[in-house]
């Protein structure tokens, strides 16, 4: 079972990296691309577990370590 946690900055937190990427894309001529936001994905190998259990574990990992609720939100997927 493989799982994935995606961590994103909260919408009200200034994403300086996203802003820089937007600027660089614009300079490359991708002027229709804007508001880029940069997040992180953690791909986790979970062994042989039930999808519901996997999902729970991923959420626990995200809450305890992978995301900081002061500035980030997260979402979880299992394959």
């Amino acid at each position: 079972m493989k799982g994935r946690v995606t961590v994103r900055l909260k919408p009200d937190v200034l994403d300086v990296e996203g802003k820089a990427v937007s600027g660089a894309l614009a300079r490359l001529g991708f002027d229709d691309a804007h508001g880029v936001r940069v997040g992180k994905v953690f791909e986790v190998e979970l062994g042989d577990v039930d999808p519901a259990v996997a999902r729970e574990r991923l959420e626990a990992m995200a809450r305890k370590l992978l995301a900081n609720p002061v500035m980030e939100t997260f979402s979880v997927e299992v394959e």
């Binding site: 370590l65 900081n68 002061v70 500035m71």
Partner: protein, 230 residues
């Protein structure tokens, strides 16, 4: 006076903190490893700068889960003075001993240079009797202080912003904000005032050879306070 300096894997200013306490101040200091649970009865706890766990994931995040942090939290709850410097500040926010978070510098680059900071807010063990503007080195990639509007309002209202980036004359403005920190915040304290986190490095300017020695004032303040209480 007795300083405990917490050392996480990847801390690299732990020796510098010990050095200031012993060689500059002539006091006693020791390192406490991340996996220890006994601080060994210090008067002050220092969380040093560096790259705990490589600063991978988020600065200070992995360190905040170390066994030693339970001891630090207990020490802080009991009113013990704790100073987190740079990565130490990041560890304190990740541990929820201080509010907010430290994000990537607005310029997206590591910054190492001298900055001026104004001592503000209410007195803390490290700022009581310290006034005016100090020139202190900064060296960080994630020093942009962030907190939600309510938290910021509370920090300001309670006088808990203890250092602000400023010009040499104390002017606080965007021109003197090296990393984009909210309200030029360079350091804050907790509700009790005993836990202080700051991005600048007072230990890097605690003797004239390294600058003008102004960083020593913070350690002297702690000496006065703790020394007086004893």
């Amino acid at each position: 006076m007795r300083f405990a300096v917490v050392s996480f894997p990847g801390s690299n200013c732990d020796d510098d903190c010990v050095r200031v306490a012993t060689e500059v101040l002539g006091e006693t200091a020791w390192k406490v490893r991340h996996d220890e649970r006994d601080l060994r009865r210090p008067d002050v706890v220092l969380l040093p700068g560096g790259f705990s766990y490589g600063d991978y994931l988020r600065c200070g995040a992995i360190a905040s889960l170390s066994p030693v942090m339970e001891a630090v939290a207990a020490f802080a709850r009991a009113g013990g003075p704790v100073l987190g410097i740079c990565n130490g500040f990041q560890v304190l926010t990740e541990s929820h001993l201080l509010p907010g978070a430290l994000l990537r510098n607005a310029g997206l680059k590591f910054i190492c240079e001298d900055a001026h900071v104004r001592v503000d807010g209410r007195p803390t063990p490290f700022t009581a009797g310290v006034q005016g503007v100090l020139r202190l080195p900064i060296a960080h990639n994630e020093g942009r202080y962030h907190a939600d509007a309510d938290t910021l309002a509370r920090l300001e209202g309670e006088g808990r912003v203890v250092f602000r980036y400023c010009g040499p004359d104390g002017t606080v403005s965007d021109a003197f904000n090296p990393n984009g920190a909210s309200a030029n915040i360079a350091g804050i304290c907790n509700e009790g005032g005993n836990v202080v986190g700051m991005m600048p490095h007072p230990e890097r300017n605690a003797e004239p050879l390294l600058g003008n020695g102004q960083g020593r004032a913070l350690f002297d303040a702690a000496l006065r306070l703790v020394g007086g209480a004893r």
